[in-house]
């Protein structure tokens, strides 16, 4: 199942990117090869002989919207630019991106390799009499394959992020695994486990009720509910290791593992702290209003998730690989 979902994510991503870039090639939303008509208000002492000069590129918002058939731009667009004239006579324009830069130009700049600058070529320059302004036509560097570039960037970027996340886990993992080990040796986990046996026996019939895995799962679920995700992950991974000790078929998930992870992916949490913080930051009158609704939503997720996981484990396509069943059959054949 995961195999197909995984390859689908990648394949759909690439196909959509190719489709979107093909559409761009046909519709040309970046107006590749079509010059923009604008005015440059020259800064400082203007001179046509100078190799490089600076100024403000000015064009009306109306012209921008019509040119790109896009939103935004406001009344007037004013961008700081630097013009450099090469010895061959061709002039290159560099536009600095800022907060007021229209979206389309930002997109063009970010796909051109230079994130904060947009490069263009001055096709024609005509200075006014006194030389303080110049009527220009600018052809921006052509933009191709925006989405394909984006997915390449994302793939490399996320590979790095994965390692950062994993390495970031080392410290807290070590801390909580150490604490867990002490609690285990002291017999604390076992007593905790006994308390909840009636519940855990139903959820995980395959696991002996006093197994350390049960203790770790209880710790994980409690930590999750309190919103202590830093502690929850190490407890959860410890639980997985303990569950794996009962797994006769390495590399294949047992029913207990799937049940445990379903509870985890449903994410029942008493205080959804992140969502509340974002609401407060957005200026909500009552940020905590979603506590009740979130508990209801996550409660639905947990309940139906558990029903689903218990139903799915009976389906032939998942039952076939059940490690518990495989070992039972082996024992039968040995007899």
């Amino acid at each position: 199942m995961l195999n197909y979902v995984w390859i689908s994510l990648i394949a759909i991503g690439i196909l959509v990117a190719v489709g979107s870039d093909t559409k761009d090639e046909i519709e040309n939303p970046y107006r590749n090869g079509v010059p923009v008509e604008a005015r440059i208000e020259v800064h400082g002492r203007p001179s046509t002989e100078m190799a490089s000069w600076e100024g403000d590129l000015v064009l009306s918002g109306e012209y921008y919207r019509a040119f790109y058939s896009a939103q935004g731009g406001g009344e007037e667009i004013r961008q700081r630019v630097k013009v450099t004239t090469a010895s061959t006579g061709s002039s290159v324009l560099m536009m600095n991106m800022d907060d007021r830069t229209p979206e389309r130009w930002k997109l063009m700049a970010s796909s051109g390799g230079t994130k904060d600058r947009l490069k263009g070529f001055l096709k024609t320059v005509r200075f006014t009499e006194e030389g303080s302004t110049a009527e220009v036509t600018v052809e921006f560097e052509p933009v191709h394959f925006v989405k394909l570039r984006a997915i390449t960037h994302a793939a490399l970027d996320y590979a790095g992020t994965a390692v950062t996340i994993a390495l970031g886990l080392i410290g807290i993992m070590a801390l909580w695994l150490g604490v867990m080990k002490v609690a285990e040796e002291a017999g604390l986990i076992r007593s905790l486990t006994k308390l909840l046996t009636p519940l855990t026996k139903r959820l995980f019939p395959e696991i002996p009720p006093d197994h350390p895995a049960v203790g770790a799962m209880i710790m994980n679920i409690s930590a999750n509910m309190l919103g202590l995700s830093n502690a929850a992950t190490p407890f959860g991974l410890k639980a997985m290791e303990e569950l794996n000790k009962l797994n006769p078929k390495a590399g294949t998930a047992t029913n207990a593992m799937c049940t445990f992870l379903t509870i985890n992916t449903a994410g029942l949490i008493l205080i959804p702290a992140t969502a509340i913080a974002v609401r407060a930051a957005a200026g909500s009158v009552n940020p905590g209003i979603i506590i009740g609704t979130s508990i209801f939503g996550a409660g639905c997720a947990t309940l139906f998730g558990l029903i689903a996981v218990k139903l799915f484990q009976r389906l032939p396509m998942f039952r076939r690989d059940d490690p518990g069943l495989a070992s039972a059959q082996k024992e039968v054949s040995r007899v």
Partner: protein, 182 residues
């Protein structure tokens, strides 16, 4: 009532970690466990576990990264939009529902954006934040947890996790409509 509950859970979540540390290690001393030695013995595995999940996390995050960057989410939202109208879910919140199981940071971004546009106390704002709190990042959880024990055949964990996500989202729409409905 909800304020009191919130305060109680807040306090609990602040004192929980110091309390766990003290009680677990203290109980160890009472039971004559060599706490320092045993702690270090257990902590030793932290590094291996973290390193073990790297390949799983790379595989999962790269696939999700490609999917997100391609803009496939917009295409999917467009296809599914008619279905959301049937259950009374605003089309604006559909990307949120689709992104939630895939990426925590992605759905956080969508939630923030929706609140900025529609206001945190609007129906869409409340629904988006309820959705965020109604389930977990399924793909991330599966990658990390199964990665830690080198499980590659995940059997029915993904369909069950996604079913949980689906009902979490439906539950969020249902309760938000009833309490804050149009």
């Amino acid at each position: 009532m909800s304020e009191l509950f919130r305060a109680a859970v807040n306090i609990l979540s602040i004192v929980a970690i110091p309390l766990i540390l003290l009680s677990f290690l203290g109980w160890g001393i009472v039971k004559k466990v060599k706490v320092y030695e045993v702690f270090v013995e257990g902590a030793k595995d932290g590094f291996q576990v973290a390193v073990r999940i790297i390949p799983y996390l790379v595989a999962m995050l790269v696939a999700i990264g490609i999917f997100r960057a391609s803009g496939a989410m917009d295409v999917l939202s467009m296809i599914l939009a008619p279905a959301t109208n049937l259950i009374g879910m605003p089309a604006e919140t559909l990307p949120m529902a689709l992104m939630r199981p895939l990426s925590g940071s992605g759905s956080l971004g969508i939630m923030t954006e929706l609140m900025k546009v529609h206001g945190p106390d609007s129906f869409i704002g409340v629904l988006a934040s309820t959705m965020y709190g109604s389930t977990e990042t399924t793909f991330y959880v599966l990658a990390v947890y199964f990665g830690a024990v080198n499980v590659r055949n995940t059997r029915h964990a993904l369909p069950a996790g996604l079913t949980a996500d689906l009902f979490g989202m439906l539950g969020a729409v249902f309760i938000t409509r009833i309490l804050f409905g149009l």
